[in-house]
C-alpha cells in the first residue's frame, strides 16, 4: 500500500500533521504532554549529570589530596620558618633592651668611659666563678679593669688575651671587695663563696646594720671605683664573742644570666701591695 502511495501525498500528510501539532501546541492542548516529557528529560539529565560529576570527583580527588598535602607541607615549613624568625626577633628585642639599658647607664655616669662586651663562656672549673668576654687587649682592655652592668658591679678583669678577657666575678670565693653600707655609714669587706652567695665581713660590732641596707663599693684599696651598686643586706649575724659582725647580701645582678657587660676602661687600679708592710728578715 505504501508503495502505491505517491511521494507528494506523503509529504502533504506529514506537513499537515506537523501543522496540526504546531497548531495544537499553540492552542495549549499539548502543555500537559510537553510538561511530562520535559520532567522526564530533566530528571534523566540531572541523574546523568550528578553521576558524571561524582565519577569526575572520584577520579580527581586523590590528585587534589596529594597537592593539598604538598601545600600543607609548604605552609608548615613556612610557619616553622616564621616561628624561628619570631624567636630570633624576640631575642634581638631582648638584646636591644639590655644594650639600651647599658647605654642609659653609661650616659648616666659620664665620668667613666665604657666598652661593651658579650659574655661568651664560663670557667671550665666549677670551683671558680669567672666569665669569658669577647673583647681583649686589642680593644684596650687591661687587667684589673672593673666590669659592671646597668644594675651594678660584676667583677674585674683577671686576664687578657688579644681578643678575649677573663673576668673574676665578685661571687668568686677568692674575690674580696671593699664596700660601704649606705645607711649605716660604715665599711666592710664583701666576699664571695663557692655557692655564689655574697657576704659581708669585717663589720665593726659597734655599728647597727639592718636588712635592706644598700651595699656600694667604697673605692678603698684602689681595686674598684667608689659608689658602684652591689646589692642589699638581707640578714645580719652578730655574735658577742666575735670581733666582727657578718651579713648576707642579696646581689643586684643575676650572675648566672649575664649576657652583656660594660668594662670601665678609664679606671686604673692601684696596686697597694708594695705599701703592705712585710716582716723584716
Amino acid at each position: 500500500m505504501k508503495k502505491n502511495f505517491p511521494r507528494s501525498l506523503q509529504t502533504i500528510v506529514i506537513a499537515l500533521l506537523a501543522i496540526g501539532v504546531v497548531a495544537l501546541a499553540l492552542g495549549g492542548y499539548l502543555t500537559s504532554l510537553s510538561n511530562l516529557v520535559n520532567q522526564t528529560i530533566v530528571g534523566a539529565q540531572t541523574w546523568v549529570s550528578t553521576r558524571y560529576l561524582a565519577v569526575i570527583d572520584f577520579l580527581t580527588v586523590p590528585r587534589d589530596v596529594a597537592s593539598l598535602r604538598q601545600r600543607n607541607a609548604e605552609l608548615e615549613a613556612e610557619v616553622a620558618r616564621l616561628q624561628t624568625q619570631v624567636i630570633e626577633l624576640q631575642q634581638q628585642v631582648t638584646e636591644t633592651q639590655i644594650l639600651s639599658a647599658l647605654v642609659d647607664f653609661a650616659r648616666a655616669s659620664p665620668e667613666n668611659t665604657y666598652k661593651a662586651a658579650t659574655v661568651i663562656g664560663r670557667d671550665p672549673s666549677p670551683f671558680l666563678r669567672y666569665v669569658i668576654l669577647n673583647i681583649g687587649s686589642n680593644d684596650g682592655i687591661h687587667r684589673g679593669m672593673p666590669v659592671v652592668t646597668e644594675q651594678g658591679l660584676v667583677g674585674r678583669v683577671d686576664a687578657v688575651t688579644a681578643d678575649a678577657a677573663r673576668v673574676q666575678l665578685i661571687t668568686d670565693p677568692a674575690s674580696a671587695v671593699n664596700v660601704s653600707l649606705q645607711n649605716s655609714k660604715t665599711e666592710a669587706m664583701l666576699v664571695g663563696s663557692i655557692t655564689g652567695n655574697l657576704s659581708l665581713d669585717m663589720i665593726s660590732q659597734d655599728v647597727t646594720v639592718q636588712p635592706g641596707d644598700v651595699v656600694l663599693t667604697s673605692g678603698l684599696g684602689g681595686g674598684y671605683p667608689p659608689n658602684l651598686l652591689v646589692g642589699q643586706v638581707v640578714s645580719v649575724r652578730k655574735l658577742d664573742y666575735e670581733l666582727f659582725q657578718q651579713a648576707a647580701v642579696q646581689p643586684i645582678v643575676n650572675y648566672d644570666q649575664i649576657q652583656f657587660v660594660l668594662i670601665i676602661t678609664n679606671f686604673k687600679p692601684v696596686d697597694i701591695a708594695p705599701l703592705i708592710p712585710t716582716a723584716a728578715p
Partner: protein, 166 residues
C-alpha cells in the same frame, strides 16, 4: 695524624665546655667534657697518642681557666695514666673501666684543684666543696661517660683501623 686530630677535637670540646656545659649545673657542680674525652680516648685499645692528647687538653684548659696552670695539666696526665693502667687490666669491660676512670679521675682532679687553690690562698671549704661541687660533678661526668665513650671508640676506629688478615 692522631695527635693532630687532638687539636680540633679538644678545642671544640673546650668551646662546648665553656659555652654550654659549664652553664649546666647540678647543685654547683658541672661536667668536665675534656676529662671524659681524655679518659675515653686513653681507654681505647689501639690508641697510642693518649699522653699527647692529655698534654694538649691540659694546656688548653690551663690557658682558659683561672685555675693554676699545673692543675689541669697534672690532673689530666694522671687521669690518662690511670686509664692506660686500667685499660691493660680490665680490657674486657671497657665501660666499667670508663666509669671507674671518670669517677676516680673527677675525684683526683677536684682534690688537686681544692688543695692547690687553698694553698694559693682561696678560702675554699673542703667539706662544702666536696658535697656541693665534687659529688654532683662526678654524677654528671658518669652520665656523660657513655656517649663520649661511644664517640671516641668510633674516632679511634677511624684513626686506627683494625688490620685485616689476608
Amino acid at each position: 695524624m692522631a695527635t693532630l686530630v687532638a687539636f680540633p677535637v679538644l678545642v671544640l670540646a673546650l668551646m662546648l665546655q665553656t659555652a654550654v656545659i659549664s652553664r649546666i649545673n647540678l647543685l654547683y657542680g658541672s661536667a668536665d667534657l675534656i676529662l671524659v674525652i681524655l679518659a675515653a680516648w686513653a681507654l681505647q685499645e689501639r690508641v697510642t697518642t693518649a699522653w699527647q692528647w692529655a698534654l694538649v687538653g691540659g694546656v688548653l684548659v690551663a690557658f682558659v681557666s683561672g685555675l693554676p696552670w699545673f692543675v689541669p695539666l697534672a690532673g689530666y696526665l694522671l687521669i690518662v695514666g690511670m686509664a692506660r693502667l686500667l685499660q691493660r687490666r680490665v680490657w674486657q669491660a671497657p665501660l666499667l673501666a670508663m666509669f671507674a676512670v671518670s669517677f676516680t679521675g673527677t675525684l683526683m682532679l677536684h682534690i688537686l684543684s681544692i688543695f692547690s687553690l687553698r694553698l694559693l690562698g682561696d678560702p675554699l671549704p673542703v667539706g662544702d666543696s666536696f658535697s656541693l661541687i665534687t659529688l654532683p660533678s662526678i654524677l654528671l661526668n658518669l652520665l656523660l661517660a657513655i656517649p663520649v665513650y661511644a664517640g671516641m671508640r668510633d674516632l679511634a676506629g677511624w684513626l686506627y683501623p683494625a688490620e685485616v688478615e689476608a
